[in-house]
Symmetry: D2
Subunit: 338 residues, 4 copies
Amino acid sequence: MILVIKKDRDKKQVDNLIRWIRSLGLDIYRSEGENSEIIGIVGDTSKVDIELISTLDIVESVTRVQEPYKNANRKFHPQDTVIDVAGHKFGGNNFQIIAGPCSVESEKQIIEVAKAVQKAGATVLRGGAFKPRTSPYSFQGMGLEGLKLLRKAKEETGMPIVTEIMSEYHIDDFYGVDIIQVGARNMQNFDLLKHLGKLKTPILLKRGIAATMEEWLMSAEYIMSEGNPNVILCERGIRTYETYTRNTLDISAVPVLKERTHLPVIVDPSHASGISRLVKPLSLAAAAAGADGLIIEVHNDPPHALCDGAQSLRPEQFADAVQSIDKILQAVGKSRDK
Amino acid sequence: MILVIKKDRDKKQVDNLIRWIRSLGLDIYRSEGENSEIIGIVGDTSKVDIELISTLDIVESVTRVQEPYKNANRKFHPQDTVIDVAGHKFGGNNFQIIAGPCSVESEKQIIEVAKAVQKAGATVLRGGAFKPRTSPYSFQGMGLEGLKLLRKAKEETGMPIVTEIMSEYHIDDFYGVDIIQVGARNMQNFDLLKHLGKLKTPILLKRGIAATMEEWLMSAEYIMSEGNPNVILCERGIRTYETYTRNTLDISAVPVLKERTHLPVIVDPSHASGISRLVKPLSLAAAAAGADGLIIEVHNDPPHALCDGAQSLRPEQFADAVQSIDKILQAVGKSRDK
Amino acid sequence: MILVIKKDRDKKQVDNLIRWIRSLGLDIYRSEGENSEIIGIVGDTSKVDIELISTLDIVESVTRVQEPYKNANRKFHPQDTVIDVAGHKFGGNNFQIIAGPCSVESEKQIIEVAKAVQKAGATVLRGGAFKPRTSPYSFQGMGLEGLKLLRKAKEETGMPIVTEIMSEYHIDDFYGVDIIQVGARNMQNFDLLKHLGKLKTPILLKRGIAATMEEWLMSAEYIMSEGNPNVILCERGIRTYETYTRNTLDISAVPVLKERTHLPVIVDPSHASGISRLVKPLSLAAAAAGADGLIIEVHNDPPHALCDGAQSLRPEQFADAVQSIDKILQAVGKSRDK
Amino acid sequence: MILVIKKDRDKKQVDNLIRWIRSLGLDIYRSEGENSEIIGIVGDTSKVDIELISTLDIVESVTRVQEPYKNANRKFHPQDTVIDVAGHKFGGNNFQIIAGPCSVESEKQIIEVAKAVQKAGATVLRGGAFKPRTSPYSFQGMGLEGLKLLRKAKEETGMPIVTEIMSEYHIDDFYGVDIIQVGARNMQNFDLLKHLGKLKTPILLKRGIAATMEEWLMSAEYIMSEGNPNVILCERGIRTYETYTRNTLDISAVPVLKERTHLPVIVDPSHASGISRLVKPLSLAAAAAGADGLIIEVHNDPPHALCDGAQSLRPEQFADAVQSIDKILQAVGKSRDK
């Protein structure tokens, strides 16, 4: 870490700062320039609060040389982490497609969708039981009953299941869930992350709606530093000023993260765009950019006015998308897990 | 709510949609245009999921005529909500200054700062016990011990206290806390909001780092719809591309919210800017724009290298700012609670 | 266009508004609701200033039913526009790769790069002569001399050339330039756009750094409404809060624009990311998402410390990327123009 | 400037880089660390392209110690620049209010508004003759005729005038204009800035819609480095995701800029919010935060349906706002120029 100290600084404050840094067990290099002094800090600087230091009156600027994430850092773990979910592997040269409805609505619905997406190529079933909704007046999901139906669908089809958790209160209720999802709104719910870090269940960690990639990796670090190494990152679009799409899919996040971390990175084209017609082209883009998988909303109920045409695909559209994805995977030398 | 239906729509889907809307107990007006059909929906449309509808294939656009928030809406509650905190009133023609350190560090520290800010004009004491930190390796606050010290400071000075909660697990531990703060990262931690809605304790609800004002009001709605009407909104800066400040203080939020909601609105200039030199001018701006109060970080420990110069003011700087704030309040016809 | 008029409006103001709308030759439908009045406006509403109307005191909200762009709108021109550049076609089922150095630096440099990229598969040569630089102290490009060298490279290789214009002053100097580029910073330099609209030369219109897709299409409309139908849109990343990449490539813009407009859409992965290692994965993503081409920075001068490793690829890296792009194009049923 | 060089760098590339930096006349300090090498660059680094260097493969990070702006930098020019506009001073302890209609529409209109705003306290008259509009189908302003009417209003009232220029073509037509405005969309129209730098006329430089403060100061630098020191900066809101206001007024820009530059800084509350009801509270906030003035839209034509209620105030509303502004100015120890 490198600090540039202002020219007209208070020498006593600088001494205080240096004493404090040394008290953290770090080494200091000082070099006096014409207009400023430069202080190099050497050692494990992950415990130094860069934000706090950067706001000190005497500090002109701070530059971190080392990334603040350790467990998630590819530098210290060069090979890809491969996470096994009931025989389906995330990471490495594998490619997984997770699919299912936005919300679990009934036993019939979830089992029918499960069978349809399985037939079309999905290996993991998604479905919301606890739904984070902007409005308290919107449908909040079926809750525990939804979890039960998901487990039934798992039994029926053999597909592992992924569903979102909204509170550490519910961890015990999530038995039988193969991947626990942390939604965008809870990416920095640190108490929840710490609790999930005590499990071994793989965690699907969605990017916060305005989270930097560094903050996202730090949230993965919360889970990993508690002992759970099984984190799958999921890019799902970030908030920008653009209004033609619900969010802006940050496709660059895929190759950037594949370089910086060894964790698997998947993409959610359904939430990123909010428009079903965009799910296929964005899925192809994600596969081409090097993603390790996709999570796609699929609905099976055409007469149901509401969800037909929303961000969910119908099963036949999903099957068509999978065929195109396969061609892209072949082009990039990967193959989808089947 | 007004839907514009596409020209080349599938009539059966439109019928399905209309049947579904009617099943929610709403009335429908249809009017056929040359290029599109317009559907007006009349009744309590707060239960209609605008986001879902807007993504239907047959829908060109959706416009909400009524705001989705009810309890927080000034239309249905024209007079200001005034929240009494141990005799200090938030809202109406009152102005409160909350002040205190970023984190509680020791009994001596919190009591000294409490006395200093009280003397300078603060009426409520702030201090972090549970700290949400981007990094798991940063100091996470003193926790329960911090709460105890806050209660001591309250006893010693008579000042009511405000501190942040990070999990519904801790609600019982927050006895004696006069205002419970929900931080920016938990603004959409809906489970936490629902639990806080069951209390009567005033809730200081900070705006999420990329939350729209509407989402923020909907989070207030979560608390209010559970039965707790005592919500204080706190603008603390939003995330933009600008790097000279940590966040961008959205000063317009103050007059906009004062128009749309009856809830008190205060401003946090310390976190908004991240720079102590900006705290005073931004406090003056907030008071001039019509805010109901301020929450300011103050630290009492000049030899402590780290916090001197950060976003916290020293007590004498705080006292100087309060004097200037008083002049602005006089100019806008308000007076600070003493 | 649909206006929702507030409940407690001033009737005289509503009458004034309606009179004014009728004076523009538009028809009005009024329908009174319980809480508001709805006014439908029928006819060519492209001349109605939606922004102005939306700020009227009496207006609750405005919804445009028709897009404000006409010439660029696919609704009125369903088939793809195909633009022929010296025999190389942009749009339709074609795919073009434009490549070349950031700046023209010397005759030797531009001709060497031209030959290298041509050999590797590029069909059009890019090179900056007039460079828009944030700092007045940075290199501003070779100017007219740079244009001359580009024409030499064109002569030498037969490749058509594209280069950026920064002022309508220079239009006459751009003879021999096959595609005139308008940079992100000038996307709303309307005087420049109008002048370019009087030409027939194809215009490569880059998206402004914070432009919505609608504003971007309206800038295309400026060029087209003056008589030049040959506009190629170029997505080059938008500004967000993320710092790991220079800009955020908005990959969704590709399928969204292909749906809304008949104009060709290409992608600039070099400027979008600012990192050479990302150029290949983002190029593959763009091809997979349906782009009509790419514009890529290539530099030929490995010992030149400065540009080696920047956002420019070396020729051999470019050649490798083209081979991978070809595989993606095959997967999506397109083939690169050769 | 400080470069952190990667651990596993190519030594030859580092040598090339250092040779190149030295060739710019700069001195180099090298210091080898355990994980990286640090290179300090001393001298006038404003000619070093930080963006280019930061993208080099061998470079981990770059930190600028000195700001890249020189003429605009308060470090080299500690006292406030005071710009005299026909006897009215911008900067220092002065406060000016510029007011007038969005567009010049007729002789009667502009003269009536001029007299009204003058009477209420404005010292400079604004009015658009050339209007930058998103749509080519919207009213583009009266052009040269508008300039003539502005000069008439100036003659009639003695008020200096400010109006926007959209192309360097028009510079000669702007005789008699006392302040030439550069709009947000042209903030990085560098050719225009260079031409304006050859004049002595004060330039009102609006912030680009997504410009960082540093880019904005660099655009001022373009004007100043050509010889025109008379630049007035105008904050007018930046683009964010928030939709309740047209733009987000970045009030922090006022104190930040007052610290970093000696140039006058004014605020445009009309365009920042797009809502006339917000003009007064935002004006008060700007004055409280230390702005040197305001530019406010005022319209005099209540029966004119369109502009009544838009972002423009009526003269009586403007007069009321001025009275409140005066109270704030008194509170902060300034007084408005009369």
